[in-house]
Symmetry: C2
Amino acid sequence: MANKKITGRDVDFAKWYTDVISASHLASYSNVKGCIILEPYGYEIWEKIQEVMNSMLKKSGHQNIAMPMLIPESLMKKEMELVEGFAPEVAWVTEGGESKLDERMCIRPTSETLFSDYYSGIVKSYRDLPIKYNQWCTVMRWEKETRPFLRGREFWWQEGHTIHETKEEAETETRFIMENVYKKLFYDYLAIPAITGLKTKKETFAGAEYTLTIEALMYNGVSLQSGTSHYFGQKFSKAYDIKYLNRDNKWEYVYQTSWGATTRMIGALIMVHSDDDGLVLPPMIAPIQTVIIPIGEEEKIKNLAEKYKEELESKNISVMIDYSQKSPGFKFAEAEVKGIPVRIEIGKRDLENGNITLVRRDTKEKITISKDADIKEEVEKLLKEIQDNLLARATKRRDEMTYEAKDLDEVKKIMDTNPGFIKADWCGDLECELKMKEIKGLKSRCILEHEKPLTGKCVVCSKPANSLVVWGIQY
Amino acid sequence: MANKKITGRDVDFAKWYTDVISASHLASYSNVKGCIILEPYGYEIWEKIQEVMNSMLKKSGHQNIAMPMLIPESLMKKEMELVEGFAPEVAWVTEGGESKLDERMCIRPTSETLFSDYYSGIVKSYRDLPIKYNQWCTVMRWEKETRPFLRGREFWWQEGHTIHETKEEAETETRFIMENVYKKLFYDYLAIPAITGLKTKKETFAGAEYTLTIEALMYNGVSLQSGTSHYFGQKFSKAYDIKYLNRDNKWEYVYQTSWGATTRMIGALIMVHSDDDGLVLPPMIAPIQTVIIPIGEEEKIKNLAEKYKEELESKNISVMIDYSQKSPGFKFAEAEVKGIPVRIEIGKRDLENGNITLVRRDTKEKITISKDADIKEEVEKLLKEIQDNLLARATKRRDEMTYEAKDLDEVKKIMDTNPGFIKADWCGDLECELKMKEIKGLKSRCILEHEKPLTGKCVVCSKPANSLVVWGIQY
């Protein structure tokens, strides 16, 4: 029986999405327009994501740093493309300490300017390079339409900013982050089979030479841009004068990258895995991996619960026992709405037969095992199966919702019934990209750099095409 | 030989302080006036502090949450004392997305208003209480004079906000945080013998019924307010309408607390422990506890370094090997400036005699041990000794710099030569508190609640006094 607080996913997807968020207490609306409150359970998921990424980033030589949240207008204006890209959506501080400021400052929408300004002061020689810094913070973009996790005025993210001696090294970094950090995070932890590729010029980040992106397909066929990695070449280093003495003792500008991923990933977790009973979380990212529900007050039941807890924790499996004064049915529903991967039910009758029950959150399957079974082993096996199953299920769905189209008629036919990823050749012209947009707002998601064109002809104009693009409707 | 980049501590304390910060790369000035950049090493120390506090807070039932960074003016104005306290020092956002806002919003100087507004929406019954949330974030206060870590426009902190069913429970929380979290952090981790007590009415936080404080004494005798815990009673709950149905099924306002500690603690670490060679960090908070410096390129030396590293890490002792292409002397100085508690030198000549050298950062003592000694045990013992020694040394200094005074003449005499903590009785009158300020800016640090008055007469007016106050010059 589905959770009563949650609208059916197939009835009204948008309503289902916000119902899941509020029923599982991930976030709530604040009285500050367009800004959410990241509630404890949502924050814990974010902390798990941070933990995983920090470990990957530190292993590959990145360090965390923290910059100011304000950017003086004059500093921002040194890189014109960036200003033009962000000017319409920043918040300006114009008064401080009861007087008008000489110069207004914006709350950072992103921090390229601050990092560039800082780097220009600390780099002298090729020996100082590379510098690979990352920042965890919130940024602000004055969006008109907002949706929790997907688009908000303030959101949580990490932004990496690196500078390098050579073009090659900077480009390697841009790709490393996309393929070895973001993609790994998505596949191995979030269990989301996201695709990666190159943004078209139109969709490239303001000021970047190129942008790599990771795009995930939601249950309803809509695409979600879930992380980007930019190669800047020397554009910022020239604007902000970030120079170093190279190995020939000559001044040269550094090569730069930046990359970011946001709390939008939590939105993706919901829209890829969750169901009418609430959240479904991959074990690798779930704040609580196992909940033990004692049914009844018997000492014997409590003792067994505590014994299991201890054993599971010895294997680093996170576990809570729900001792609250609620009915078992209520506790089951609560464990489901929170997406806890494995539930262990210890009931009196079962126990008389020497059994307990494990319940998988992903499939709802109930598994009866002996109370004396090796609980660590059983749960560990199940967590692994759930993790694998979520990725396999999402991959199957993604593949079923990925279409190929040779011309606009085929595109329209697909979009009339099935939103999803559409693979189609493209000639590279902006005009054709804009034509696609006329079909229900289709946008290029990314160019698949390692795949060959389907026909060699642009899906719009039929002229020669040498790139295969994935198109989709975006959040 | 002292570090050349660092002014002598006894020559110019203020200059020494900022020299240590820049030589050890804890923080640097940004081009945003009054805002610093928390550089990787400073950020790592902050992460260690967060780790320790998160563990203490989670064990005592607190959860992390994240609120918006902006506060609409109308929301702020619901609690007048708070507005009046902070109005002169907030930054206002007046424009967003290229248009003027209907209502200006300030960047949070603290978040009582946001938490109160949120709590008013989620609390219904005594069964929902207590709620004990904490937030890690930065806040902004438009200060005129700033100093890295001590006073800045933007700083990093945690702010806890809790609501309770009863006065008793809320008061217990206020004290628990001060005595079992902040004081424990200071003694057991930061190795700082800070004193705790009650703020006078004049120094109480805007809107609080009372404020508890933790005050640390710096090397130069100046006091640093290092954390505060406030009891609000029902003041905010009445202003923001945070009501619950109590056990008698009647509406009642919750009892509230808040408490915060900031990156100022890093300033305290510097000014209590460090010296002319740079930082001195207590092992319990040092990002790197041991550095191994191989002197020479021999395979034998490197192998031993790697073996030590592995053994130390197996005991969760953090360690780095300095393989950089710098001279041993340079590496020693760098290890010192960063305050790494234990340095292990592996040199060719020593090794021929079967020995290696350990060097303590706190005392500079060199200890020669057999290369085959149990390195884990030796280093572990030394780290414990250093931790204990730092606290003992700081306690001795604090006690030597704590004076007692019976009248203003005695106070003046002390202040003419020795700044420090001055213990003196106080009648409770604001007028006498202000009189003390005329003596080199002396301010009440805290009322010692558990100590008896010295003479029973106010140090200023000689009228009956029933509280013993610690006075000092503050940062």
